[in-house]
Symmetry: C2
């Protein structure tokens, strides 16, 4: 760092912030007498972290393509195990047998006046040393069925349900047609699912340069953004039904597990799906006729987007090798000195679509660096009070296979022993992102308060708070954000390995990562390489260290805590905002429906729409009834009282049994029957959205019932959620007050 | 029209709306006993309007390029005069001598690694019969000085003041450089003005395909939108200082008028300016280096936009033939039977940049059709009670030359005699747009109520109301709009010939046009042709008839009114909303400034901004004081009382003298000293924005002082506006109560 005015300013900020925090810090879970010892331990831990080492790990583990079931994938797992052992941990490979399709044939071609055969291949680049390697998985969407379809093409924007509503208004059906959708807005697996629901026979998903390409910045290798040939691979398993091996829902995919057939697997789609580059998408899109796409649908390619259909037939042929293959998790343990049966579980996946320097190796490298540093502490005589379980998952990319199978296989034991699951995945430069169980929000804030941001030298918490204020949309919201000293952690959807811990078992979970200054287009492409990473993601690997600190401190605080640092008051506050949101959402939906119906009934759509556009008005919708939220409100009132009393309770030293009751409290929020139509998801507060995928829906049973206008189901779900909250209140009252 | 379900629906709507309006209609200005006679007259008028005839007029008058001072321009004026005379009107050419530059040399070239010489030429197209004609003005911005400059290029987004603020934060200066700005957001003349203020030595303005090209729809000739070679010509006179001949501010540009020199003309800029196509802009933009342009700056060309500067030098050379040339207005009159000294003035310009089928001939053809129909009524024995003055202006394109010079030349007479000025300009398919003096809002609503939309068969008012409801952003606003029976007319900025009538003289004014379903990229290009018009603007010419009806009925109602239909209550209501807006704007600015200053002082910009971007925080701004709006509030309270009393006043038949007092009332709102730094603009309520150009600023003295943070000036201007409103109140009380 040079001595620029900016750096002098940062130094001044840093000094000020050090002075401000010179007083005794509060550490939740530790009496003041022990807090300093814990902080000292964390300082020692930090001294064993090396950005250079993290960089070297990223380089080594991403040096070859290493997808699930590849020889190199196995070698990476072995190397990770070897490292854990060298750090002084117990470690072994825990292998499951999972279905995993690998492409054998991929054809996409268009006939008509300007025939085109898609390239379907990302070229090797001299600027990217690993981009020309053997062993790359071709560009494909994993879990597409085999298929050989021909049909007209229709452009469906992002392929969301509302995009099909608009097509209906245009009188355009996708029945018997192939759709082409843009990546973005919804998780990729949702797009073919919705297409299939509407009768499409095939689905192409492409990266539009407006969302992921030259519109955002210079393209690779000049810059970080997606070049014309780049393709986002990825799973299209219908993970919102259940993740993991499709053939073994709810149970571990051990060699001898009872398997269902592929046809029985409700999370597999029926139409062929292929991801393509914008180079390959351009001639297809340009061939489309029919109406000009509405403004919000248009992308960044240099021509006018039409909806279609085109009169040039499109042929999509896909064939896969469907085999059961090994899925090699690595599980490493360090036994707790006092509570060996209370586990602090930490995980990151190790499998990649190709080289995966960012996804997942950047997170994996940070995890290994933590394990190494803890190993060093152990060599100096430290033992965690609780057992540490560090996991490197295989098969995350196709659908959280490794973690889900392990969790399903050890469900009972985890519900007994797992205090927390702390996840990470890809990591980059920028701001701390944290999501998870809201009872852990106070802990996350205290962890963030004590870690310094590598670039600005303020705490990662303060930097996040500054970003939140900057991003607030209005002066009023900015003012509110400026007044805050703590952040809210986000709720968890899906898309990484925490899903089964939290949403299937109710194990309190956290997910950490840094980002926001590492944008690029390498995701799931051959260009997610070390060369890309060191130029555009985290060039100094200092954010790798920051992640090691964030996750590592969290692990160490939970492992050593006298009283487990769960703050149920935060849980109450968060759920209460969700409940308020649901009521506001319902009121807005009611008002909106009434006004829209009035617009439709008054023929305003016909009068205000260009008759040349042949755009029919939308259909009237049933009026939104007033919904009885009182069960939820009463349950929350009860939780309010209990958590207030809990917060003001005089601190005493918990027994092991009481700590266990604390970490098991989240299980009270599970509903045995699971969510409507997806019983695997049992948490009443958090789930991936049925039509958003990765994106979270909080209080999902109620929220999705309302969004999808199933009023009776909303009533039922309100009662279910209320019962869960009442269970929790009673549990807390009985066990902890 | 086929008997489709949609058309049956329209018929049903039509029947219902006819039934609803079968009662006796109120016509402001007419006792009930005379209203039916007036409506009958308007029905007869309508029967003489022919869409085929309007189409033929558009075709004929746009058949050759006919800019000011061209031989064909003169011929068009002569033809218009001939037609007026054939319709039974008195008509003559009223010629002024105005400065008008014509390009002699235009060079734009780039050196460096990829040298480029700009095409600067729109190609002839086989699909457009007039596109290859001789006599086209080349692509240029009129009033650019001669210049021969070389420099680095910087991209300045839309060239707004805030764009330069952002460049400052990036540490990029345009001093000594040539800027390239996108058309849009501000009027084109503002862009070089702001560039010049920041030290640029030249300015290019281009049409980005995101705003005006393939992003919106298929390009010409396949569709209506701007193709890669299309260029928007246009004036860059600093019209917000004063419009009209630059050498004769405030006086008519008669042959012997006392002229100032070009150097003395404060509405002429000092740096060369050239408009270019996106074909010509692309290589220039692609050569730029420096930071990636912020998201909002990026356009629709298929590469990453950088801010610059580029290291390839750009050379811009422009030379013009600066001559004083004839400007031929046509003025036609039909003497009033009862009040010959009360003039109903109606106008549209006839000069075009090239062929100008839409701009201005579509409006001119409607005006001529009105004159023809009125001529027919006259043949059947009708005479208007007041004198009609129908004008066809020359030289509107370069800067409202013909109308401004005529108005300046006849200022005193017009302030005595002009009851109203009713303007139109280009016209197309879609919705009624009306703007003007708010005392005429009730009249406009009554006119719109009685005219049927050609496509939907409801009234043009109801169609406009439906569009307003559709366009409302929130359900709450939609609900409000749905409850409305009347529209608000817009306030007038500039950009057409009403400016001098309203803003210089205080003649009550209106501007009419139809549009919203006629989007395209032909504006000021060679493709604004009859071939384009009949395909994309108003294929049946039915909206030409709708414009004839709208303007014609307005003319006839004002011409025949017993009591001139001015509704000062509407004026009060509108100005009151402006005053409320100004207070809210000031409060928001205060809150926003405080929060931004807090963000800056708390180093949130440094903490939340990617350090790799080298983006300095904005500068702190002075806090916004509390401003004394009470003079304005008190003045409005007075106007409230007076206009309430006026509204409830029992109807009597006005004398000619009282009617004159009515139409002269708007002159009370003039301030002799004019607006700060632009004394030509004397109206205290309406002016084009100093930094927006065409876009209106209401209560401009106060609004712009606040926007530009000149608090003392805001105080002074509040007093000036309050005094004007008090003058009006007193005038109304003394003369009309």
């Amino acid at each position: 760092m040079t001595n620029s005015p900016f750096n002098r300013l940062l130094t001044a900020i840093l000094l000020f912030s050090s002075l401000a925090s010179a007083q005794q810090k509060k550490l939740s879970g530790f009496p003041d007498s022990l807090a300093n010892r814990q902080l000292k331990l964390e300082e020692q831990f930090d001294q064993h972290l090396s950005s250079a080492n993290i960089g070297a790990t990223i380089k080594e583990l991403s040096s070859q393509p290493h997808h699930i079931s590849s020889a190199r994938g196995k070698a990476v797992a072995e190397e990770i195990r070897r490292r854990f052992i060298s750090y002084g941990w117990d470690a072994s490979l825990v292998t499951y047998q999972v279905l995993f399709p690998i492409p054998q044939e991929r054809v996409l071609e268009m006939g008509g006046a300007k025939p085109y055969k898609a390239v379907l291949k990302e070229p090797a680049l001299p600027e990217d040393a690993t981009s020309g390697q053997d062993g790359q998985l071709p560009t494909y969407n994993c879990w597409s069925p085999d298929g050989d379809v021909r049909g007209e093409l229709v452009f469906v924007n992002y392929g969301l349900p509302e995009d099909y509503d608009y097509l209906d208004r245009l009188g355009i059906s996708v029945k018997g047609k192939i759709v082409i959708a843009k990546y973005g807005r919804s998780w990729r697996g949702i797009k073919p699912k919705v297409a299939q629901e509407h009768g499409a026979i095939g689905c192409l998903i492409y990266s539009d340069p407006k969302d992921d390409g030259y519109v955002s910045g210079d393209v690779y290798p000049k810059g970080a953004f997606k070049n014309e040939y780049g393709v986002q691979r990825g799973s299209i398993m219908d993970m919102v039904i259940y993740p993991g091996d499709p053939l073994t829902p709810n149970i571990g995919a051990t060699a001898d597990a009872k398997r269902i057939s592929r046809e029985e697997a409700t999370n597999l789609l029926k139409i062929p799906v292929l991801p393509i580059s914008y180079h390959d998408a351009a001639p297809l899109l340009q061939s489309l006729q029919g109406p000009v796409a509405p403004e919000e649908w248009r992308g960044g390619l240099p021509f006018t987007y039409h909806v279609g259909p085109g009169n040039a037939p499109v042929h999509l042929k896909l064939k896969f090798d469907w085999q059961i293959r090994p899925c090699n998790n690595v599980v490493a343990t360090l036994k707790g000195s006092e509570f060996p049966d209370q586990w602090v579980v930490r995980g990151n996946h190790h499998d990649a679509w190709v080289n995966g320097a960012a996804d997942p190796i950047s997170g994996m490298a940070a995890l290994l660096e933590e394990a190494k540093a803890i190993g060093e502490l152990v060599k100096q005589g430290y033992r965690p009070r609780r057992t540490l379980v560090y996991c490197a998952w295989d098969g995350e990319e196709p659908g959280l296979l490794g973690s889900t199978e392990w969790v399903e296989d050890h469900a009972k034991e985890l519900q007994e022993k797992a205090v927390v699951y702390i996840n990470s995945d890809n990591n980059g430069r920028g701001f701390m992102n944290a999501s998870g169980s809201h009872a852990l929000e106070t802990l996350v804030n205290e962890v963030g308060r004590d870690i310094t941001d590598p670039q600005t030298k303020v705490s990662i918490l303060d930097r996040r708070l500054a970003a939140d204020a900057m991003r607030a949309a209005t002066p009023k919201l900015k003012k509110e954000k400026l007044a805050r000293q703590t952040i809210n952690i986000n709720a968890m959807g899906s898309g990484s390995d925490y899903s089964s811990f939290l949403q299937h078992l109710g194990v309190p979970s956290l997910d950490y990562g840094f980002g926001g200054e590492d944008a690029g287009g390498e995701y799931h492409s051959i260009y997610d390489s070390f060369d890309d990473y060191r130029r555009f993601k985290d060039p100094t690997f200092d954010y790798g260290v920051a992640l090691s600190k964030t996750a590592g401190h969290t692990v160490l605080r939970i492992a050593n805590a006298v009283n487990l640092p769960f703050d149920f008051r935060k849980l109450y506050e968060t759920v209460n905002t969700y409940a308020t949101e649901l009521q506001e959402m319902t009121n807005n939906l009611r008002e909106n429906t009434a006004v829209e119906n009035q617009m439709i009934a008054g023929h305003k759509y016909e009068l205000a729409t260009d008759t040349a556009k042949h755009l029919a008005p939308p259909s009237m919708k049933d009026a939104v009834p007033y919904i009885d939220f009182s069960p939820l409100q009463n349950a929350l009132a009860g939780l309010d009282t209990i958590t207030q009393r809990l917060s003001s309770k005089k601190q005493i030293v918990n027994t092991a049994a009481v700590n266990k009751l604390i970490y098991q409290a989240e299980q009270q929020l599970l509903n045995d029957g699971g969510l409507p139509n997806r019983a695997w998801y049992k948490h009443t507060l958090y789930a991936p959205g049925f039509y958003t995928g990765y994106g979270v829906k909080t209080i999902p049973g109620v929220r999705e019932a309302i969004e999808q206008r199933r009023w009776k189901e909303a009533d039922e779900q309100i009662k279910i959620v209320a019962a869960a909250i009442e269970r929790l209140s009673k549990y807390l009252q009985t066990n902890l007050l």
